[in-house]
């Protein structure tokens, strides 16, 4: 089973498609998921995902925008897609019936009445 941050990385990479690399994935995670993402966490998690065979990475072409430096490109493998689907299904199933999944505003457990 994936971790939450691993799932975010797989989803960001899948959404970005051919343009999935470090800076773009970080930006996607921060703007879409609304959580801070350090390059340290991103690259060490990417290494872990690559070791598990869930993503492939390779060095891309250098670009002017990056001061002539190369990008580390990322592609989600078939196994990575299956793992992400499994995580998503599990979260969806376990969330069914909860106040936050059903959108019952003002009915969240723990909120002051």
């Amino acid at each position: 089973m994936l971790g939450e941050f691993e799932y975010l990385i797989l989803s960001a990479a899948a959404n970005l498609g051919d343009e999935a690399y470090g800076a773009a994935m970080r930006s996607a995670i921060e703007t879409t998921a609304g959580r801070a993402c350090s390059l340290g966490a991103l690259y060490t998690t990417l290494d872990r995902l690559e070791a598990k065979g869930l993503v492939d990475t390779w060095m891309g072409e250098p670009t002017q925008q990056r001061g002539g430096r190369a990008r580390r490109m990322v592609r989600v493998t078939g196994e990575g897609s299956r793992a992400a689907r499994e995580f998503y299904d599990a979260v969806t199933r376990i969330s069914r019936g909860t106040a936050w999944a059903d959108g019952r505003a003002g009915d969240l457990p723990g909120d002051p009445a």
């Binding site: 340290g40 966490a41 060095m59 250098p62 925008q65 990056r66 001061g67 430096r69 580390r72």
Partner: protein
């Protein structure tokens, strides 16, 4: 990426591997985050990379299994070896006394070189930790029993061959089988010839046999 802040970021990126440095500096140039965040990113990644190394047995074995105990043992060997030369200075020089003194110093050089080589070969990227583990007992002894420079230098005779071994170990990582066997066998003589260490010295022979095993594995046809 200009300004004084970024020069710190680029300097800190020197802690990363060449490929990762290029990727990370490129990401930072593209994202146009401030230099402070860039510095935090680079240092955070470098720290994580370094911590990952300690998930392996190698840094532990090199620093706490070898550098630390071996420096204690080698300080004793250095003093024992230097006493052999005292005998030459105090009385008439005989061939046998000279032979014993020279064989002791050769044994010390072999042992220290072998231990240094093993430290360098086992964990190249955590040499700083091995250096600290080696220095700690030396500094403790020097502070506990301060003396003149002659007695201080006697404790540290092992340092030059050990550093030479570390340097070679970093470069080469493995020895030829014959040389590794020679070193391991010679190292076994040290506790007996110098009459020091006893079981402690024998327990520290593992790097010699580790180097033999490594050389043997590499020399086997695949």
């Amino acid at each position: 990426m200009t300004g004084a802040g970024w020069s710190y970021v680029e300097a800190a990126a020197g802690l990363l591997g060449a490929m990762e440095r290029e990727v990370v500096l490129g990401d930072l140039a593209e994202s146009e985050d401030g230099a402070w965040r860039g510095l935090k990113d680079v240092l955070g990644l470098a720290a994580r990379r370094h911590l990952e190394l300690w998930a392996n047995w190698r840094p532990w074995a090199a620093s706490f299994g070898l550098a630390l105990p071996a420096s204690l043992f080698l300080m004793g060997c250095s003093v024992a070896t230097s006493r052999g030369f005292d005998g030459l200075l105090d009385g008439p020089v005989t061939v046998s006394l000279l032979g014993i003194a020279l064989s002791k110093i050769l044994l010390l050089i072999c042992w220290a070189w072998m231990a240094g080589f093993a430290v360098g070969a086992i964990s190249r990227q955590t040499l700083w930790a091995s250096a600290l583990a080696c220095c700690a007992p030396c500094l403790f002894c020097l502070s506990k029993w301060p003396g003149d420079w002659v007695s201080t230098s006697r404790l540290l005779w092992f340092l030059a061959p050990a550093l030479w071994g570390v340097w070679r170990g970093r470069q080469k990582a493995r020895l030829g089988l014959e040389f590794a066997l020679f070193l391991a066998a010679t190292a076994m003589l040290v506790p007996m010839m110098l009459d020091i260490g006893g079981w402690y010295g024998l327990g520290l022979l593992w790097p010699g046999w580790f180097l033999v095993a490594k050389a043997r594995r590499m020399s086997e046809p695949t």
